[in-house]
């Protein structure tokens, strides 16, 4: 298989889906000129009618996606940085999540929301926050985040084909990560709602995603010989693949959840509660979480030790195995 970068994998997904389905288009700010390279060069093939730049007007910009989806198109709305989606929060969370259900489940809303997210650039809260947990809190919206180029391409394709609103941010910290991807024209998809065991192990399960998955894999490798760490990538937060996690816990009986989101009210909290409810008897130790402390994400030199990192993940693994 060939190797491409994570961000190029997303672009390939756009290209293939836009060629396949004329109703797919991208709306955002400065996507034609490609402020992030996942839209680089697309305007040359698809033209400014399908690679659409709007003024700095997130409500209107998201409105293009929302309304066009109701009209049967399949828009991808790119918020550039994840935090910018909060500028139009009532539309893209509340109204989006309730649209299908509250109106009698008669009219789907097939749209994709994406944006770069995550720590690593020292830019602080508004440019560094994660959004998956907040969107996952709103029923009616699927939420997923890929961790490898293979998953990125396959999951973006799934998201575009899904008949529901799908929030699929990508982590800026793995933008240039390289990985194997099938040849062009091999029309594979990675279904939403299916977790992936990224490394097998028997002593402890670590659930981690995106940049934090890379950190978890690094730690697992470091601990090999001493502790056998199973690393699972949830890939989707909503719907979440509880079966894969519980099956793993039958073997390891210990769980560390790493989530680059705040401790309070995030995905890691949801998973911990569900494991307690559905897998209490499997556990030999309390579930341990590695998350952001409940403060606005600081920038500068603090980001590297405030955010989850390999040291904190290793400490949590050791604690849960002690």
């Amino acid at each position: 298989m060939r190797e491409i970068t994570f961000i190029d994998a997303i672009r390939e997904a756009y290209e293939e889906e836009m060629r396949r389905d004329n109703s797919v288009f991208i709306v955002g700010q400065d996507v034609r000129g490609a402020i992030f390279p996942h839209t680089k060069g697309l305007v040359e093939e698809f033209g400014p009618e399908r690679i659409v730049d709007t003024p700095i007007a997130e409500s209107g910009m998201y409105g293009v996606a929302f309304g066009a989806a109701q009209e049967g198109m399949r828009p991808v709305c790119d918020f550039m940085f994840g935090g910018f989606s909060y500028v139009t929060f009532s539309e893209c969370s509340v109204t989006t999540g309730q649209y299908h259900f509250l109106h009698g489940s008669q009219h789907p809303l097939p749209l994709v929301i994406t944006a770069g997210v995550g720590t690593g650039q020292r830019l602080a809260n508004d440019h560094a926050m994660s959004i998956h947990g907040t969107f996952a809190h709103h029923p009616g919206i699927k939420v997923a985040m890929p961790s490898t180029p293979y998953d990125a391409k396959g999951m973006f394709k799934s998201a575009i084909r899904d008949n529901n609103p799908v929030v699929i941010p990508w982590h800026m910290g793995i933008m240039m990560l390289k990985g194997e991807v099938p040849e062009l024209g091999d029309d594979y998809v990675v279904p939403l709602g299916v977790a992936d065991i990224k490394r097998e192990g028997s002593d402890v399960t670590v659930l981690a995603n995106s940049l934090q998955l890379q950190h978890a894999l690094t730690v697992a490798e470091k601990l090999a010989g001493e502790l056998s760490v199973e690393v699972i990538d949830p890939r989707s937060f909503v719907p979440f693949d509880m079966d894969t996690l519980l099956t793993s816990l039958e073997k390891t009986n210990r769980l560390v959840v790493v989530d680059e989101d705040w401790e309070s009210g995030g995905f890691a909290a949801t998973v911990s509660a569900r494991v307690m409810e559905q897998g209490f008897d499997l556990l030999d130790a309390p579930v341990t979480r590695v998350t952001l402390p409940n403060m606005p994400v600081p920038g500068g030199y603090m980001e590297e030790y405030v955010a989850p990192n390999p040291e904190r993940i290793e400490a949590a693994i050791r604690a849960v195995c002690a």
Partner: protein
Amino acid sequence: MALTSDQMVLLYRNMVRADQFNKMMYRRMMQGKLIGFYHPAEGAIAPGVGASTFLNQDDNLSPHHRGHGITHMLCKGIDIKYYLAEHTGKETGCCKGRSAFHFSFPEHKVYMMSGFIGYNFAPVVGWGFAAKRRAQGQVVMNCSGDGSYGQGRAHEAMLMSQNWQLPVIFFCENNGMSIFSTAQEMHPQENIASLADGFGMPSIIVDGQDVFAVAEASLQAIERARTGGGPTFIEAKTLRFNEHDIGTPDLSGWEERSAEEHEAMRKREPIRIATERVLGDSLLTQNEIDQIIEDALAEIEAVEQFADESPIARPPVEELMAGVFAD
């Protein structure tokens, strides 16, 4: 409103300072001596200087994000060393080194900055509301770019400021660009100031490369706001000489900005325009100008030294947690 010679000399001095500070920030970003990113202000320093130089200490100022507000803040009497220390992640930074590029000088009524373009439009209404209730002649100078007027909240702020006759100045620094997008494409009319017409708000369009013209317009709007005359919209037509932020390609739409565009822009270099004026009007001699430049460079050297010699901010998480809520 004709400017006095003293006012013109002060404006000129601030232009030189703003220009040199911007050059310093550009250089430090290239040297890897700044945290995060930098949006250079070259070509666009006159609007901020003209808008901010004659504000009082108790007037509110929301600086434009371009140049990271330095142009505006230094004219309001803020010591930039605390901001440079912040931008280099130091303990002595104005936000204790935890904010990267954000600034906060509440004692100067420069409260905040957010990475969300157009964020300013919400709080300025509240500042104007408070100023009106306090009735002490305080004004709100609300500076932001042409692009920021795409946000719905810009229109909400104009609506309420005009309804309530709040002392808010909507100061639009129109450099014709918003990252790669041109104002020509993103705004339906040539002048952003046309927005004011719909609200019945008085507006002034001014050459943003001419600091003296900008200052005259600003003084007129400040006077109106101070005396209960309500808001004014000022559009300063300016330019962006560099790419949007350092390292991003310099595109218009999805093509490189042309050499001709750059050449034409450079003819409207604001420092040169100001220099020709002060020399032509015999307000300053070349020797005095050289001295002003030297003073600015000395000021900047001290600012950099302060930032560079300050310790890196790496407080423990517990200490940070203690700062999430006020007592």
